[in-house]
Symmetry: C2
Subunit: 309 residues, 2 copies
Amino acid sequence: MKSIKVFAPATIANVNVGFDSLGLALSNVGDTIELSVNNTKENKITEIINGGSIPLDVDKNCCSVVIRKMQEALNDYQGVDIRLVKGFASGSGLGSSSASSAAAAYAYNELVGSPYDNKELVAFAAEGERVACGAAHVDNVAPAILGGIILARGMNKEDIIQLPAIKNIYAVTFFPNIKINTANSRKILREKVAIETVSKQIALMGSFVASLYEEDLHLFKSSLKDLIVEPTRSLLIPKYEELKKVAFENKALAFGISGSGPSVFAFTFKKENAKKIQAALEETYKKTGIETKSYINEINDNTGARVID
Amino acid sequence: MKSIKVFAPATIANVNVGFDSLGLALSNVGDTIELSVNNTKENKITEIINGGSIPLDVDKNCCSVVIRKMQEALNDYQGVDIRLVKGFASGSGLGSSSASSAAAAYAYNELVGSPYDNKELVAFAAEGERVACGAAHVDNVAPAILGGIILARGMNKEDIIQLPAIKNIYAVTFFPNIKINTANSRKILREKVAIETVSKQIALMGSFVASLYEEDLHLFKSSLKDLIVEPTRSLLIPKYEELKKVAFENKALAFGISGSGPSVFAFTFKKENAKKIQAALEETYKKTGIETKSYINEINDNTGARVID
């Protein structure tokens, strides 16, 4: 194989109940990477479309860092030319660097004959997160590779758990184009959480997982509450409470902040409700002068990184 | 119906991952209550066997308090004589007051024609916990009524979730007869938890619930870790680390503190392993001079409160 083209999706991390451990994939929004064997031992970023300030330096770009880590682990250096097409904005809170890192890991693995399985790729993709965000979190990269809803206790294979999705649940994702730096968004979090709150949030994660296996929409709805992150991070998002209110008025089952924001998401049953929620969220921002993007995605298991063309 | 006899089981609360929300029932250890209609509007405690210092005063005894709450809710006062046989020690950390409260709620409900379903009884039994322990926790009373493994986010019906048990999992429960006051045991807990620890413990609850639905013993084992309560509460239990070590040497899948202690528990696959763990725990305490009791119970769904005789 001389070249390959791979798509990896945007992702919602945290998902109300799983700060730094839970994430899910948005099937039809994401990044596309093309790798071509260049017959050297070096990797090269040849082009980044819609990349903004994403670095072309192979030591700083998350894609080339991921590929280099794989080459080191395999002790086999098949240098590649890398062309990246960004499908959504950096800094959106939808796992921009993760989609690129996941695409790079998945594509290079395919190119060299699949020495790793998908769960093993998560640790490599996390190295892209480390270079892009300063920490190797996996709550975005794991679903960006595996698709669906992923609980990641860590980056080892046995710590990555695919949870079942409930049929006909749609995610509406709404991105207000304001700058929230991930590092700042982490700083606003309380460093310590009262034990009563901890106990409640743990129980909500437990009941969320049960709701997926039971396919219980009532339990799903009553579980998806964020007692830890939302109270502070929501302050950074203009009109957050208003967005939440109109989402629930339009049959949202849940509403929350995607990763470190500023994107927010709503879950709902059936596509027609998703469309109503999307319209209501857009309407809420109409007079703010803030540019927005929004997406509708069904949540299901076949939404991870994949070869295209 | 003029009289009824009901058994309700001892329970393990917290179960490593679910502080104040998770509990499970021990089928063959528990309390037995006998209620007999006394043709007055008043309840009376006629006898408590093995009750130690449990009060006979109907305003202070958890059984009579529960029954009075049910009478008030029903606005129907069928006074009963109450005879209670305690099957295990108060202060053991195995839900002693909860077993009595659960038995009382279940028995009175049966006696008056089952106006409530089992989940609705939890809130009444919790009133017994309030009088016995000062707080209406439900992580013991919910499994004592419903049996099996219960996740209780609160005391409302929709907050009580029955989780599936994995076949052939046994609990070994070991009670060292030392005094640990529940209130003191709560005081030793840190009031606030670092957010990194919170995130990890939340993920462990999520993967624990997944392990039950997946019937995945490896995931079950790797999930049952307590990062929040064990580090401090274990200090109150003599030889805790040694008990934990011998349990894992004998094929334990998990080891932890039951409720506020001093009882500890181990889970294992198959009864033969449970017997080995029980022997190893007993052996560890042999020279301490501390009296012990230990129990082996299969964890399954049919272990809640039930009419006997």
